[in-house]
Amino acid sequence: MCGIAGILYKDTDKSFNIGQSLVKMLDGCQHRGKDSTGFALYHKSTPGQLHLRFFVGDDDGTAAAIGRVRNILEEFGAVVVENETIGKTYRAVVEFDGDVQKFAYALEHGAKLISIGSSLDIIKDIGTAHDVDEAYHIGEHQGTHGIGHVRLATESDVKPEAAHPFWATGFADIAIVHNGQITNYWKMRRRLEQRGFEFRTENDSELIAVFLAEQLSRGIALETALEESIDILDGTFSFLVSTDTEIGYAKDRLAAKPMILYESDELIAIASEEVSLNRLFPGETLDTREPLPGSFSTWSKSI
């Protein structure tokens, strides 16, 4: 149970302060959940480079975890271009052009992998938007688009890895944030596992990421995958999905979870509540709209 937010700037030539925008939007709806906060931020990509982020903790085991990751990187011939240890995570930018899924599964033996992408970087931890911003300097992130999430844990644990955004391990550059509850989780999970997809948590929201990754991996367009999700997923949901070039939403047929949308020539912003949108435009009355029940849409950077 949560609050979600997403923003995409249409101008593809420039970078925008997406980190700061998402911190503001999530702070605006923090009342929807204070257990954890997370961000999926998309930066400009450099061909041949991958961004990796791992949970390595901030304790005695941290150095060893980073050591294990470095060994695996070496094993795969990935050259570290840039790296840092920040908060509970280790971030690295590497040069790598092999099979990303195999690479990801191997890296998980080193430490808990949070995300891989040519432009995606997922940052999530326990605490509020401001807490996570302080620990990870979210506000300094420049990029083109991103999604974020505040969480009130209802069934699964409160720990960094149970925070949103989720991704489908091994599928680069796809992230989702979800508000609601998927009630056919186990049935769908078993179906996807039979097709060789792996799950890393028991959080129902991870299912959405895996489901969409499976669709996209078969060459299905994101918009079509979202349409499919409304039929296939059971329960209540308003979710946002992002890839390296797109951002999209889907909303269940009962319209049980809120979502509100603002679009201008410059940007598209989506959030659980209008109060988050107004954080970007204080003092203004926005011409917003509420997506219809059972609807979905996508926006691409290249508009």
Binding site: H31, P258, E290, P293
Partner: protein, 658 residues
């Protein structure tokens, strides 16, 4: 004109200023609202409030009298539960505009979100453009005017009221139909549109309830009266109760409806015992030696309930019970220095006067819910579910839905009322946090807010209750009774009280919050011994419903749902109610409560304590393997014989009648 700038002050501070302006009869203008929630909630004076920009959730909610103008959009639940007054919104409204209104004009010039007018009872909701999914869902009265098109399932399960549609009907909901409208109605609509300057030249279609779902089909006849001990007899194969169930189903072709709770044998408080031989005490003066005072509800700074002992009267509605019974319960609660609870049916003036401390319950149907009674309550309680039928709404059969009762609840008289099971504005924990905030804003953070939870997935739910900011939890197990429910639900759906408290305590321990959320345990607490066991297990307080009713004259015939209770308790029939002697039964209930006080004090004293809060799990053992398994207490079958004499003759009752 009072100016309030939300760029400079918090909503809480703004609401305080708006309240003061209301008292002084001054109008208010709000600047920089930026879609913040709860603007102007709880206002009970007829002033004008202008909001310059978009407002968030529950703008103008829980109000009676003011006129709001909002120059922008609004979030969920604009005008929530408004009685008199108006709200005019220039932009769009998100979900459930005009939810549960009891009067008032709510005008949205743009589009409206899903479930518009859910459980509204009176007044007008008008939408200038298009409506969304399930407009008029479960509405009980009033009218919705939509100048554009409807969404899907228009008028889904509406019970009363009318929907007038200027555009296309996308699809009709269950039990809704299109009928002709007469010229008077049309005139009234035109007048309304003129008043709010909404130009419209088209024609209207009218949608009303089709009446297929208002009443149960087939009258349920009782085969023969059966006392509770026979009814709950579980040893006999094809026993009398099972036969009776089958007889009834063979006549109606559906599940049986009855009162009371689960009658199956399941592990209960009576399967636990104190290690110490508490019956051996012969001290005449235990009451002066043990502190029983229980203060509950001040976790977030509200004025707490101050109980003379850890016992409350459990929530029971005026509706399920007669007015006389509710007044007797209120009187008894005051005589014993504890609290009374309204249950679903709203506050009766006589009950409010008689009860020193009254908890006001808010249910999904918002039947009898209103700001004025909120402000005169001592605590509020958001009902999520009850132990007897977790996940289900209440049932009140037609015979009990009298003119008076229907007026208080704002529903059509004479229907088989099936209350909704789900709050219109609480579809998740996130929404619940916002709802609690609305109540706190409306009552200036002065009144404790609790939650009634019928144990289901309690280990998860208690964590939510902890996180979203309740002051305390009323936790109910399946041995708790109800006025009417499907017998199959009563027997097979709930979680036993013992398992409920264990799940709750474990849930709080999971998130390192043990002891941080007071728990009031109820559901088959029969006397002070059960109460003491509940407290030792980890509850902070207990509540008695059925036991109090029995003390006040109930003969446990379990015909509560029928409405012709022979002792005048579970009835709205004045002839039957006459049999109930309020003062006398109030005294009986009081005497019973005092016996509980004496028992709780004696047990605490026998365990060597001078404060009831010192009772703890180490004082208890389990007498059956099942109870040991559920609770994790030591299994001590050797104590079974001693415990078979539940109320030894040498136990003395000492009570002072005030």
């Amino acid at each position: 004109m009072v100016k309030v700038d939300l760029a400079k002050i918090s909503v809480t501070e703004a609401n305080e200023r708006i309240r003061v302006a209301g008292e002084n009869g001054e109008d208010v203008e709000v600047f920089n609202p930026d879609a913040r929630h709860h603007i102007g909630v709880g206002l009970i004076h007829p002033i004008n409030v202008r909001v310059n920009g978009s407002a968030g959730y529950f703008c103008a909610g829980l109000t009676d009298g003011p006129n709001f103008t909002i120059d922008g959009n609004v979030g969920w639940g604009v005008g929530d539960n408004m009685y008199q007054g108006s709200v005019v919104v220039s932009g769009n409204a998100s979900a459930i505009p005009a939810v549960a209104i009891r009067g008032a004009d709510i005008v949205i010039k743009g589009n409206i979100g899903s479930r518009a007018g859910q459980v509204m009872k009176a007044g007008t909701l008008c939408c200038g453009r298009n409506a969304n999914f399930m407009a008029g869902y479960m509405m009980y009265g009033g009218r919705i005017i939509i100048l554009g098109d409807s969404g899907e399932r228009l008028g889904e399960d509406m019970t009363g009221g009318s929907i007038y549609l200027g555009g296309k009907i996308q699809s009709l909901g269950t039990d809704a139909k299109v009928v002709d409208l007469d010229s008077d109605e049309l005139d009234s609509i035109r007048q309304f549109l003129d008043q709010y300057e909404l130009p419209f030249n088209g024609s209207f279609q009218k949608v009303v309830n089709a009446g297929e779902h208002l009443r149960y089909k087939g009258i349920e006849e009782r085969v023969r009266p059966m006392p509770f001990h026979t009814f709950s007899g579980t040893h006999a194969y094809w026993n009398a109760k099972i036969q009776e169930d089958i007889h009834i189903k063979s006549r109606t072709g559906r599940y049986r409806v009855r009162g009371y709770g689960a009658a199956r044998l399941m592990p209960h408080l009576s399967d636990l015992a104190f290690r110490a031989d508490v019956a051996a005490t012969d001290d005449d003066d235990v009451l002066s030696k043990v502190n029983l005072r229980t203060v509950i509800g001040d976790k977030y700074g509200a004025k707490p309930l101050d109980l003379s002992m850890p016992v409350m009267i459990a929530p029971m509605s005026f509706g399920a019970l007669s007015r006389s019974t509710k007044v007797a319960m209120a009187l008894a609660s005051s005589m014993s220095g504890i609290s009374e609870n309204t249950g679903e049916g709203g506050v009766l003036d006589a009950q409010r006067e008689a009860a020193d401390q009254l908890i006001f319950q808010c249910l999904a149907g918002r039947l009898g819910w209103n700001i004025r009674d909120m402000l005169r309550a001592d605590a509020l309680e958001i009902y999520i579910s009850q132990g007897a039928k977790p996940g289900f709404g209440g049932q009140l059969m037609a015979k009990k839905v009298t003119e008076e009762l229907a007026a208080i609840r704002g529903i059509p008289p004479g229907i088989d009322l099936r209350s909704p099971s789900r709050h219109p504005d609480v579809l998740g924990a996130d929404d619940l946090a916002i709802k609690i905030e609305e109540f706190r804003e409306a009552t200036a953070y002065k009144i404790p807010i609790s939650v009634k939870l019928g144990a289901g997935r309690i280990r998860d739910d208690i964590k939510i209750a902890m996180k979203v900011g309740f002051d305390f939890v009323e936790l109910d197990g399946s041995q708790g009774s109800t006025g009417a429910s499907s017998a199959d639900v009563l027997e097979y759906v709930g979680v036993p009280t013992l398992a409920a408290i264990e799940g709750a305590l474990n849930g709080l321990a999971d998130i390192d919050c043990s002891g941080q959320l007071p728990i009031v345990l109820m559901g088959g607490v029969m006397d002070g011994i059960d109460a003491a066991k509940a407290l030792a297990l980890g509850a902070d307080c207990t509540a008695v419903g059925t036991a109090a009713i029995i003390a006040g004259g109930c003969i446990a015939c379990m015909q509560c749902h029928v409405g012709s209770c022979v002792v005048g308790i579970a009835t709205q029939d004045p002839e039957h109610e006459k049999r109930y002697k309020v003062q006398q039964e109030a005294l009986h209930v009081h005497h019973f409560l005092e016996s509980m006080r004496w028992q709780i004090a004696s047990i605490a004293h026998a365990n060597g304590y001078d404060d009831v809060k010192q009772l703890n799990r180490n004082d208890l053992v389990a007498l059956t393997p099942e109870a040991a398994e559920v609770t994790g207490l030591e299994y001590a079958p050797e104590l079974r014989e001693r415990e078979q004499q539940r109320l030894p003759a040498n136990w003395k009752y000492e009570f002072a009648v005030r």
